[in-house]
């Protein structure tokens, strides 16, 4: 089953890439590089989505995440650290604590995952098993459907969220000197 082999190989390749990018992202001292590595992780994630059969999501991931959010983050970096793009190192203690915590989280959770039995759908025996074929259309319909399977409500809620984030962002970031300060 060559498909499977490709699938698996891709999985491990992208996984390795994503993990390396992620590690690089959290350990680099240059914040802009971190943004770049983040982009790598997110890109790899898009690939994961494709592997998982969520092509639409992969597109969204590339467009919104890589194209939007990371750019925004880069702007943020520019706006906030114009004169020191190189970050100082965190203290050893903090690194140690973080290492212990994240490692134990990883250890415990992956232990649980490996030991857990999932109610894996029987229809899913291979990558090409039957599933909703046109996910893009299905998602589009679902987002505006008011019925049983519809997501119009969270969709509207998220629009309110984005709106208020927008308004808030403007209010906060607007360049005015606060009154009465020092």
């Amino acid at each position: 089953m060559i498909e499977n082999i490709v699938h698996t190989t891709l999985f491990y390749l992208f996984a390795a890439f994503a993990v390396l990018c992620a590690l690089a992202m959290v350990s680099t001292h240059r914040i802009l590089r971190a943004a770049l590595y983040l982009m790598g992780v997110l890109g790899a994630s898009a690939a994961f989505y494709v592997l998982l059969g969520a092509e639409f999501l992969a597109g969204v991931q590339i467009l919104v995440y890589v194209g939007g959010i990371v750019i925004l983050l880069v702007f943020a970096v520019m706006l906030t650290s114009s004169n020191n793009l190189i970050e100082e190192k965190p203290s050893l203690l903090r690194k140690l604590v973080a290492l212990i915590l994240s490692a134990s989280f990883f250890g415990i959770s992956s232990g649980i995952f490996l030991g857990a039995t999932f109610n894996v759908s029987s229809r899913l025996s291979g990558a090409s098993s039957e599933k909703i074929q046109d996910t893009t259309a299905a998602i589009g319909r679902a987002l505006l459907d008011q019925g049983e399977k519809g997501y119009v409500l969270p969709f509207e809620i998220i629009s309110l969220l984005l709106l208020s984030a927008l308004i808030g962002g403007i209010v906060i970031a607007r360049k005015t000197q606060p009154e009465g300060g020092k």
């Binding site: 993990v19 590690l23 959290v26 970050e87 965190p90 203290s91 759908s121 291979g126």
Partner: protein, 113 residues
Amino acid sequence: MGENLVSFLEKTPDVSHWLVLSSLLFSIGLYGLLTRRNAVGILMSVELLLNSGALNFILFNRFISPGNIDGQVMSIFVIAIAAAEVVVGMAIFVALFQQRKTVDVTQMNMMKG
């Protein structure tokens, strides 16, 4: 050796493999969140966390209930929420930067005790 590899590769990654991957990404994100000194760096780590959450939804959608698209929809919302968080976070960091001339979180301890 080669046989082993092939038989290994022939078995497509199972739900737990995916989960371990997402858990690894999540843990790395946590590490970043707990160590980065630049607030924006922390925000990036948060993206990593949210991303692995979204990944979870998609992989579960794929493996557990391929008959619907709930997981994928959730991932879309997660991406939107991540965007909103970044917007707000960025605004706050920028405003803070105007006041304190830095966004090093280790120096953000004027209030404590």
